[in-house]
Amino acid sequence: MRILIVMFTLLIAIGCSKTIIPYQRTGEVNAVSHENSIVVLSSQARGESLGKAAYHAERNAFENLIFKGIPNTNQESPMIPNETKAINANPSLFKQLLENQGYTKFVMDSYTNGSSNSGGVHMIEQIIKIDLKSLRNYLQAEGAAKKFGL
């Protein structure tokens, strides 16, 4: 009888626990506007909570900006062309910048433009205003991005 109670409790616990949605980079980052050294991006992402979805969206925006470039902006080319080489050369820098949200110091504004919840999965559209000049200078100072020149 005891065994049955324990098993039942475990089943309820598993059933009630939230599904963890891991971060996954996607190409769902689009240009909103750009001016001088500032770019405004719209990034879509999913998460088990609104906070987690916003984090995934911001991280996705920065990863696309740094390693891929965003079409129709003033940063169409990647800031760092060879992602694997750069991360292998300086793993702690990118862990701090991307995983540990070090990118927030380059965010001038970030807000949720729309969200929906389907079966515990929050989908979000985050609008992020980024200071490109400071980000570029930071990556150059840390030796991750090349300075202009040969």
């Binding site: 940063q75 020149g149 040969l150």
Partner: protein, 291 residues
């Protein structure tokens, strides 16, 4: 205490030495100039067009903000005008003179045009970056400002340039990365001295190959990553429109094109062929004759 200080200083100098070993980035100098059609003078396009002056100043400002070394076109123009009175023909070749005198590695031609419309005015800027030595195009961008009901063309030109200047710089940087990887391009034209009994179809050794074939084989062996392209060859001329040479030599210094020519001269000397050469920027002209 002395020991601690000594250890600290040793570590400091050791790190300094390591830092100095790192190859610094060579930062090229850039000059923005107005675009001039055939028959138009660069000076006139600058002095008579306020919009061009604004656009050039905005391009220069944008580069300065990015920490790129720029050369002031106006200052160089004045310097050239002070040193000599220009004839009409000289006016037309002023662009080449200014570029040569300025020492700029890259020049950017800027063309700014107004666009009037009932729904608002805008400015379109065409920016084209060229390597000052080879004339090779490095990047092109066209940018149009949003339409506004205003006559403030300065602001419109600024908006158009700001929208694309980062992308222009990034495209130039992509070209630089390719140069670092694949080497820089030089051109070489090999000809025969007038009156010489030598021609490129002569056999100058026992290999059975013509002189032109020997030269081509040498170029293939000595071009960076063996990359070259020959445009054409005849008994009197060979034109190589692309030969890749390294950016840096073994010691990390800038590779001098004259080094490439010296090697070719020494090689041909052994075959009994005399080499006269002229090097202009990245263009090599070789004139051959019998020793």
């Amino acid at each position: 205490m002395k020991n601690i200080l000594f250890t600290f200083l040793s570590i400091f100098f050791c790190f300094s030495a390591i830092a100095q070993d790192e190859k610094p980035t060579i930062q090229p100098t850039i000059m923005a100039i107005p675009f001039a059609k055939e028959g138009q003078s660069t000076r006139q396009m600058y002095e008579y067009s306020e919009l061009n002056r604004i656009a050039i100043t905005k391009v220069k400002e944008a580069f300065d903000q990015r920490g790129v070394n720029t050369i002031d076109f106006r200052a160089k123009l004045k310097q050239l005008q002070n040193s000599e009175a220009l004839t009409e023909d000289q006016e037309l070749s002023l662009k080449d003179e200014v570029i040569k005198m300025s020492g700029a590695d890259i020049y950017i031609e800027v063309e700014a045009n107004r666009d009037y419309s009932p729904s608002g005015n805008s400015v379109t800027c065409i920016l084209t970056a060229y390597d000052a030595f080879s004339g090779e195009s490095l990047a092109n961008k066209v940018s149009t400002s949003p339409r506004f009901k205003t006559d403030n063309y300065e602001k419109l030109a600024q908006k158009a340039i700001e929208a694309e200047i980062d992308n222009l710089l990034n495209t130039i940087q992509e070209k630089f990365n390719l140069i670092i990887e694949n080497g820089k391009t030089v051109t070489m034209e090999v000809g025969i001295e007038i009156g010489s009994d030598l021609d490129l179809d002569s056999e100058v050794d026992d290999s059975g190959y013509y002189l032109s074939e020997i030269i081509e084989e040498w170029v293939e062996e000595n071009a960076y990553n063996n990359y070259y392209h020959m445009q054409g060859s005849s008994a009197t001329k060979i034109v190589f429109d692309q030969i890749k040479v390294p950016l840096k030599d073994e010691s990390g210094k800038n590779y001098r094109i004259s080094k490439f020519v010296i090697q070719l001269r020494n090689f041909l000397k052994e075959k009994g062929v005399k080499v006269d050469r002229t090097i202009t920027g990245s263009a090599i002209t070789i004139t051959l004759s019998s020793l």
